[in-house]
Structures are given as C-alpha cells and as structure tokens.
C-alpha cells in the first residue's frame, strides 16, 4: 500500500517486520510506514471490495458505451 504521509509505496508484510520490536504487533491493526514512521490503519478489506465493485461497474459502462 501507499503511505499517506510520505507517499512511498511499501509492502505490508515488510512493514510488519519493521515493528516487530513492539509486542503489540500480533493484534495491532495499525501499520507503520518504514520510510517515515507514520502510522495508519490497515486498509479495510470490505471497503476495498466496495470500491472495486463500483470501479468494475463503471468500467463495464465504459465498455458498453
């Protein structure tokens, strides 16, 4: 995903390793950008699905036009 502060693309798994020093990592729903230390919540799975659903619908419309 992309960091919302510094805008760098990063890998979520790698970012997890980044904060392995913290014992809360197992249950932690925050993710920390390895580049700038900014913390953001893990992207919500269902919200992503909703967006993809709408994007696909829009895409289809484009095709049919």
């Amino acid at each position: 995903m992309r960091c919302t502060l510094c805008y760098k693309e990063f890998d979520e798994v790698e970012a997890r390793n980044h904060c392995s020093a913290c014992f809360l990592t197992s249950g932690c729903k925050m993710i920390k950008c390895p580049n700038c230390d900014y913390e953001m919540p893990v992207e919500s799975a269902w919200a992503k699905k909703v967006i993809n659903f709408f994007k696909r619908k829009k895409g289809k419309k484009h095709v049919s036009h």
């Binding site: 919302t4 502060l5 510094c6 805008y7 760098k8 693309e9 990063f10 890998d11 790698e14 904060c19 020093a21 913290c22 014992f23 809360l24 990592t25 932690c28 729903k29 925050m30 920390k32 390895p34 580049n35 700038c36 230390d37 900014y38 913390e39 953001m40 919540p41 893990v42 992207e43 919500s44 269902w46 919200a47 992503k48 909703v50 967006i51 709408f54 994007k55």
Partner: protein
C-alpha cells in the same frame, strides 16, 4: 556460461548504480550483470551492496548496486553506505537511475552528481509508467541541458536496456571528464574562494567539496581537516561569512536555488501535465509550509474541519439525531421494555439496560456518541491525508519547532501518527539509555492521544468556542513543553526533516472512503469490545459495591477541580480510555450540570491522562511495573494538577464561557 573476454586485457573498470529508493536500481542491475539482486516494491530493499560482472560486450567491468539515497548529503545508515561507494570507489562510471515520471524530484540529485564531477549517465527508468500517464520527456533537450547521456528505460519490460548498454560501451571508449556546475551566481564567488584553499587530493571535484562544506557535510569537513589542515581555518572563515549573508541555512538556500534550476529544466523537457507545476497548487503548497502563511492556513483548516465539521456538525447535529432521536426516542425505551419482560430479576436486568448497562451505556456510547463524532473526524482526516496537506503540515510543524529551537524530527512522526503502539516502537528504536527511554515513554503517555480520542474530546468542547480556544492553547503549550523535553531526551543528530512532497490534489472519493472506513473499522474493533467490557465491569462493581466506593472516593478529587461530584463517574471512565471518559462528559453536559469552565477543566485533565489501559500494559511490558506505576502516578498528578490550577485561574479571573 563463460564470460566473453575482451581481446586485449584491460584493467577492471568499476560502475555504480545510484539513485533514490525504489526506482528500479536492482532491476537494472540484474539486467546489466545477469546476477540477481532482490527486487521489491518497497523502498530500502537493498541494504547492503551487490556486486556483479557487467555483461556488455567489450567492456570489462564490475557493476555495483547500492541502497537508495536521496542526495549526496546522507542522513540514514543505508545512504551512508551508498555514499561511501561513491566517494571511495574510484568509479569509472556512475549510472544515476531515476524515476522518469518524477523527473523534478530526481534531478536535484543528478545535478549534485554532475557537480561532483562523476562520469555520469542518467537512466530515466519507469518509462512505461510515464507513457501510461501520457507524459513524455524530450531526451535530446535534457542531454543538452545536463551535458551527459540520458537513456529512457523500462526495466520491467527490458525496454531501453540495450540503449543503456550501448551508452556504456560508448562511455568506455571516450574519455569523459566534464566541468559543469549549476551553482547560482550568488554562490560562485564563495565557492571559488573555498576552492582556492583546497590544495589536497579529494575523491571528487573540489568545487563539489566546497559545496558540501557550505552545506556542513560532516564527512567533507573531516576530509578537509585532514587534507588541508593549514587552510582549514581560512575556509571556516569564508563559510561563516557566507552564512551571515542569508537568513536560512546554506543547505536550504542551495537546495532552493537548485530546485529553481530543476524547475527550469523540467519545464523545458517535460511534455505533459508536470510542465505546468508552478501553478496555483504549487504556490499553495509553498504557503502551507511557510510559518507566516502556513499557521493562518492551519487555523482556517482547523476551524472549518475540526470545529465546524467535527465539533458542531458531528458532535452536535449528528449526535442529536442518532442519540437524542433514535436511541432515546425509540431504541432505549424498546429495549428497556423488552428486557423487563424477559428478565424478571432487577439486578440481572441492569447488566443490560440499567443506568450503566451494556446496551444502554456501552452500545449507546459506542454507536450513538462516539460513532458520529469519530466518523466525522476520520472523514476530515482522510481528506487531509488524500489532499497532500499532511506532509506539508509536517514540514510546517518542523519549521516552527526549529524556529524556536526544538527538534522537530523527534516529535513530528509521533504527532502525526496519532498511533497507539508508536510509543513502544519509537522508544525501543531510537533511544539508547534507559533514562532516555523512560523520559520518552512519559512524554508519549502524556502527550499523544490517538486521533479518535482527540476528536471526541474536541466535540465535547465544541459548544463553547472560547473554551475550545483555551483548550487548544493549553495543549499547544503542552506540546511545546514536550518538544522541549523531547529535544533533551532524544538528541538525535538528524537535523533536517526531509520529505519528498506528493503533489497537492483534490481528494478522491474512493480514497477518502477507503481511508475513513479503514480507520472506523480499526477504531471499532479496538474500542467496541472495551466499551462493552467496561459496562460489564461496572455492573460487577455495582453489584459488589466497589463501583460506588470508587466513584465516592473520586468525588473529593473531582470537586477539588471545581466540578460537580457527578463528574467522578466520567473520570472513572477516563481511566479506561480518554474517549470513554469524554463520552461520559458528553452525557453530563446533556444533563445540564456542567458549566463551560467545568467542561474545559475536565477536558484538559482528561487529555493529559494516560490514553488507555492498553498503553499501560505496553509500558509495563517495556519498563516493568515499578516504572510504569511511577509514570502513571506522575501523569495523573500532572493532569489533575493542571486541571486544578486551570480551574483556580479561571474562577479567579471570573471567566465564564
């Protein structure tokens, strides 16, 4: 596979790939050497140095893949590794790999490399993405501007790699030594003067050394001390004199002038959107970061975003609608009725629908009070994030902090992170001595509520604008204090907070939606169970009488703050989580027993409290029970003390809201 030997045995040449993180250096390296370096879409993938044999006909050379670096002035450990290759490598060729679509952010480094006198090829990678965006770069023009060969590549598809190889071959045959610099005229005389004093031998051109000296590069200073000890003093004089000519640091001035040069070049060679970057967005971006204009902009954003939208709309209109309308009007009466029918025992029924019941208190707080406020807050925050304002805010805060002599670098990521585990990670990562770690933990416990908690506390105060202002003032003071102590506790030598700025843009609906929902989901997963759990705990406490005892023993404390004794319940909640306590205040305010001063005092005290039970546990894990209790006690005393003084002060001067 046997490597083709060149006909006449030549000395092994050395080629290095350098450039920003995540631009595709390792992928290019793999193409050039046939060996395999880890490639991933994650800046900082390459931490060590990879070496391979160049697979280009007629050229005997070793290729080196380096970790990403942003500029010749290195900040991080990985950057130092990359830089040491540049400085000590006796390189025959340097290939600057850059992200073509972000040419304007890549070129400053190219200019630095040219000035340093490295034999250079500029490899503009990710050309495929450039095309996708309908952008293009006028390669010939760029070559002319820079005076070095430029190649466009797309390392993923392999496009342009053969041209790159051809350029390497050409380079091998020609003797390449250029003298070119992009220093602004204003600096030229100073640089000349320094240069004239540099008599020793250096790994790079002396005018580049001079420029590094101006930028107070530690390593350059060391070199000069060693190689030109005789004239070092004179050089120092020159630099000190130059400093007096500018209001900002020389590093900043040089970067600025370089940026101007880059803008000119980019405007010349870039075809497409990026060429009109000096428009309104760019100006706005500059204003946002300058304290003089940035602080008023921040005030406006906070006023409309936080006060009007989160406080008045979220905390007022929405809460009234959901809490007052839906819950008080329909859901609660319905539930109370229902449970009266199905559970005949009063005590047991109270667990669900009593004054502090799971449904009537826990669920109601979570869904009717906190949800609208936090939802509005997260929506606002997502817009800020997606518009690109956040990093500019970071720069602004950093500048303001620096202006007053504080170390912004230590505090900003924490502040903007508003995170929960920040403390643990930050503390274990940055600091060495135990003393420093404890101080840092204390600071964080005191200062950094998670964003949601801030939102709720703020919404409570929204009905009293002037009280809100005082709260902001108190918290700002606290921040400065924290910044001051943090500077003392975290004396990192990282002086500049450098961040590449994403473009300013209008927030995209899909992004804002995703961000808002992700935050809401995170918050509810974390908070909902706790609210329910707290209700159960309170119920147990009530049945056993412990709850009444605690509330009762808190009453004198609360009254010392000038608050009505009913507020002690909210304070008890506050020990759980600050936002839970704030929701309690919301209720009290609805009941009409709090004055503006009361609310303000309660909010300030709550803001200073430990954020939540989880944080307490983190501290215990990190530092043990003794220190944790110590810190908690300190925070508690400080929070109550501040509340006490504030109340006395306000009452003393007869302030009312």
């Amino acid at each position: 596979m046997p490597v083709l030997e060149a006909p006449q045995a030549q000395a092994q040449k050395k080629i290095a790939l350098v450039g920003n993180p995540n631009v595709g250096k390792s992928l290019i390296f793999n193409h050039l050497s046939g060996s395999y370096a880890t490639v991933s879409n994650y800046p900082g993938t390459t931490v060590g140095v990879m070496r391979g044999k160049l697979k280009v006909q007629g050229v005997q050379a070793e290729v080196v893949d380096t970790p990403g670096m942003y500029s010749l002035i290195s900040i991080t450990e990985e950057e130092r590794v990359a830089r040491s290759i540049l400085m000590e490598g006796n390189l025959d060729l340097v290939i600057h790999v850059a992200d073509a679509k972000n040419l304007d952010r890549m070129l400053p480094f190219t200019l630095q490399l040219i000035e340093a006198g490295f034999p250079l090829i500029l490899c503009l990678n990710m050309a495929d993405e450039l095309e996708q965006r309908n952008l293009s770069i006028n390669k010939e023009e760029l070559q002319k501007e820079l005076g070095i060969p430029v190649v466009l590549t797309a390392a993923v598809t392999g496009k342009g790699i053969s041209q790159l190889k051809a350029e390497i071959q050409k380079f091998n045959q020609e003797e390449n030594q250029r003298e070119k610099d992009f220093f602004p005229d204003a600096f030229k005389s100073v640089l000349k003067e320094i240069q004239s004093n540099l008599k020793g031998t250096y790994p790079i051109q002396t005018h580049a050394i001079a420029s590094l000296l101006l930028q107070e590069d530690i390593e350059a200073v060391r070199w000069v001390k060693e190689n030109d000890s005789a004239s070092f003093h004179a050089i120092q004089e020159t630099i000190n004199h130059a400093k007096t000519l500018y209001s900002h640091s020389l590093q900043y001035e040089l970067a600025l002038s370089r940026q101007k040069e880059v803008e000119r070049i980019v405007n010349n060679v870039f075809v497409g959107e990026s060429s009109k970057r000096t428009g309104f967005a760019e100006k706005l971006s500059q204003w946002m970061m300058q304290p003089l204009t940035g602080l008023p902009i921040l005030a406006v954003v906070l006023y409309f975003g936080l006060y009007k939208f989160v406080g008045v709309f979220g905390g007022g209109t929405l809460v009234d609608l959901i809490e007052g309308g839906l819950f008080e009007g329909y859901i609660n009466p319905f539930l109370v009725n229902l449970f009266e029918k199905i559970i005949p025992w009063q005590t047991f029924r109270d667990l669900f629908t009593g004054e502090y019941g799971v449904l009537t208190l826990g669920v109601r707080y979570a869904v009717a009070l906190v949800l609208p406020i936090v939802g509005a807050f997260f929506l606002f925050f997502a817009m800020i994030e997606d518009s690109g304002y956040l990093p500019r805010l970071a720069m602004l805060v950093d500048r303001v902090f620096k202006k007053i002599g504080l170390n912004g670098r230590a505090v900003i990521p924490i502040v903007l992170g508003f995170g929960c585990d920040t403390m643990a990670t930050i503390v274990t990562r940055i600091l060495e001595t135990k003393r420093e770690r404890v101080i840092a933990t204390l600071l964080l416990a005191l200062a950094i509520p998670c964003s949601a908690q801030l939102g709720v506390i703020l919404a409570v105060l929204a009905p009293y604008p002037s009280a809100l202002l005082v709260w902001v003032g108190v918290i700002a003071l606290e921040f400065l204090f924290i910044g001051y102590l943090a500077a003392k506790a975290m004396p990192g030598e990282k002086p500049s907070f450098y961040m590449e700025l994403p473009p300013m843009r209008f927030p995209k609906i899909s992004n804002v939606f995703l961000k808002t929902m992700s935050r809401m989901e995170w918050y509810f997963k974390e908070v909902f169970p706790l609210f329910i759990f707290a209700s159960v705990l309170i119920w147990v406490g009530q049945v056993t009488g412990i709850f009444q005892f605690l509330v009762h023993s808190l009453e004198p404390v609360v009254q010392a703050l000038g608050l009505p004794k009913e507020a002690s319940v909210a304070f008890l909640f506050g020990f759980f989580r600050r936002d839970y306590g704030a929701a309690g205040l919301f209720d009290l305010n609805d009941a009409g027993i709090m004055t503006g001063v009361n609310l303000l005092v309660a909010c300030v005290t709550l803001t200073l409290f430990l954020p939540c039970v989880a944080q307490f546990l983190v501290m215990k894990k990190e530092h043990g029970m003794k220190i944790t209790l110590g810190i908690s006690a300190f925070v508690l005393v400080l929070a109550l003390g501040t509340g006490y003084v504030l109340n006395k002060l306000l009452v003393g001067i007869g302030w009312s809201f």
